[in-house]
């Protein structure tokens, strides 16, 4: 299995990408890892004797985090993101992982790797932390801000398959993000989508309210990309704000620092449970090949987790599974 990695994307690139890849190369000797990176920056990090299954694939350009996505992928055809998506499309690579510019990866995934023929819009699908540590797959969080009911139906199907095969959840519970739990609640979109999803061969548990996400009331949460994006950023913003303020309180004076030392193991465990990076990256579901968006702030461990996830994504045949289900549905 060949997995390509964007060595140039993410806040801690290329260091974190190389670190995670070195660890993964050792952990999974059957995986051939290809770092798409600028030679002068990446070569020194992998050393003169890298593991035999870790390779450098030289690229001369890359897309910065703040570039306008569509323009960037048009102008930088030799960039790590465009090259990675193209290699997946052409079958040279079995999967591609990037912690870089999210918009550019979504655009290149859609325009270069390409959509499955029965999928109207791909969905960016991160795992949200839950208090039980299992996590919840949420799709879409922004690939498609103007979703229609049939898109949400496709998300439910793809999310359920992914949660089962990659996250190892038996009969994943699929919920629809809504503003009330009763049937018939919501806006025009969710009311229609509810009717579509209930007819699917998935374990649909109905409407789910945002207040219950942390409690893990479902395994797969379906949402339009606008609301899902707001949810993601709100969650990140609160987590950051709360832990920031907590740190302030803990370091206020020598006495609180003493208290902090006592509480440290528990608080650290808590922070880890709520850490996105523990759950690997977000697959772009609906494409012809596995493309995974790792968190922008990924460290070596997050990259390692994303590689493990991409491996299962390929190995367990998620994309052929999605194609089959869609064909079965179309035949009625």
């Amino acid at each position: 299995m060949r997995i390509a990695l964007d060595a140039m994307g993410g806040d801690h690139a290329p260091g974190a990408v190389v670190e995670g890849s070195l660890k993964a190369a050792e952990e999974w000797p059957d995986a051939e890892l290809y770092l798409l990176g600028h030679e002068p920056l990446v070569r020194p990090l992998i050393g003169s004797q890298p593991p035999t299954n870790l390779h450098l694939q030289v690229v001369e350009e890359w897309i910065e985090a703040d570039e306008e996505p569509v323009r960037a992928i048009r102008r930088k055809k030799g960039s790590s993101i465009v090259v990675g998506c193209r290699m997946v499309k052409e079958g040279e690579m079995d999967a591609f992982i990037s912690a870089g510019n999210t918009g550019a990866l979504m655009a290149a995934g859609t325009m270069v790797t390409g959509r499955l023929s029965a999928i109207d819009r791909p969905a960016l699908s991160p795992v949200f932390p839950t208090l039980d540590g299992k996590g919840m797959l949420v799709l879409d969080v922004g690939a498609n801000p103007d979703a229609r009911p049939e898109h949400l139906k496709q998300y439910a199907l793809m999310g359920s398959l992914y949660a089962e095969k990659v996250m190892g959840q038996e009969k994943p519970r699929v919920g629809l993000l809504n503003i009330g739990t009763e049937e018939g609640k919501g806006n025009a979109l969710t009311k229609e989508a509810y009717e579509e999803i209930r007819r699917l061969p998935v374990h649909f548990v109905g409407n789910v309210e945002a207040r219950d996400i942390l409690h893990g009331v479902c395994d797969v949460l379906v949402s339009d990309g606008f609301t899902g994006n707001v949810l993601l950023k709100n969650t990140e913003g609160i987590a950051k704000g709360v832990f920031g303020r907590l740190k302030e309180e803990l370091t206020r004076n020598p006495l609180t620092k003493l208290a902090a030392a006592i509480l440290k193991p528990g608080l650290k465990r808590f922070a880890q449970d709520l850490d996105y990076k523990e759950h690997g990256g977000a697959p772009l579901l609906g494409l012809k090949g596995p493309v995974v968006k790792a968190h922008g702030s990924s460290d070596g461990r997050a990259v390692f987790n994303a590689i493990g996830q991409a491996r299962r994504f390929v190995e367990r045949g998620v994309i052929p599974g999605i194609s089959e289900e869609l064909q079965r549905l179309e035949r009625g």
Copy 2:
């Protein structure tokens, strides 16, 4: 000034409503407070010699928290919520406050009190906590789940006026909840609304992302009711989950309990800063009279705060102000 209170609504009714009203009657002798309540339940609480400006207005029925809103207000015409909204419409009361069934209050506000003629949809407008303690008015959080761009424009105008007059913010910064900060980002709704709001006589600061809310990047945040409701419930859910887990860590063993005792003042201050109840209730903006939804879990202090807020809502002429602004806009 006459302010009616739903003595029967909220998790801690009628106790908390009476408690808050007794305190408010003393604080503001110019306000005549009317408790709409069931006599056997409320009379014993106000005692035989209540303050001269605190009155019991007897109602024989009320709407429970889990009743279907529209059916409930049709069937229970003598309920505290319907009576309160009617008294405001008929000018018998200057304002009405309820901590009861949110859907029923929104329905009675719209159907009984009635909308201002130039307003298509009223907006439920709570204040979200921010780390600086100032709070941010967010509208709408669920009165209108299928918003159109012109609704968002009206929210911007009403929210700005309310923030200025009731919350005392000079030149309130109005933001549009969106999934990117740059102009041109978003879904079809926010792209159009952006163009509408920028032409208003308000201090528009552009698109705001959910991750920046806690940091108080604007004073008034405009959103469709679906997304706003998801935002509200997500924030409440995370706050509850995080403080719950924190409590677990702090009470794990005798040593962590000692640490907790040291940190208590700081953590308490923090929890208060993030407490919705500190900021009073949520006005239903766009109605012909002041109707305020207090939080369902309101204690006496929250009711007291909501009364102070309703007082300013009336005194500072927010609703005449909204009407004037709308007329001025229509004349171009």
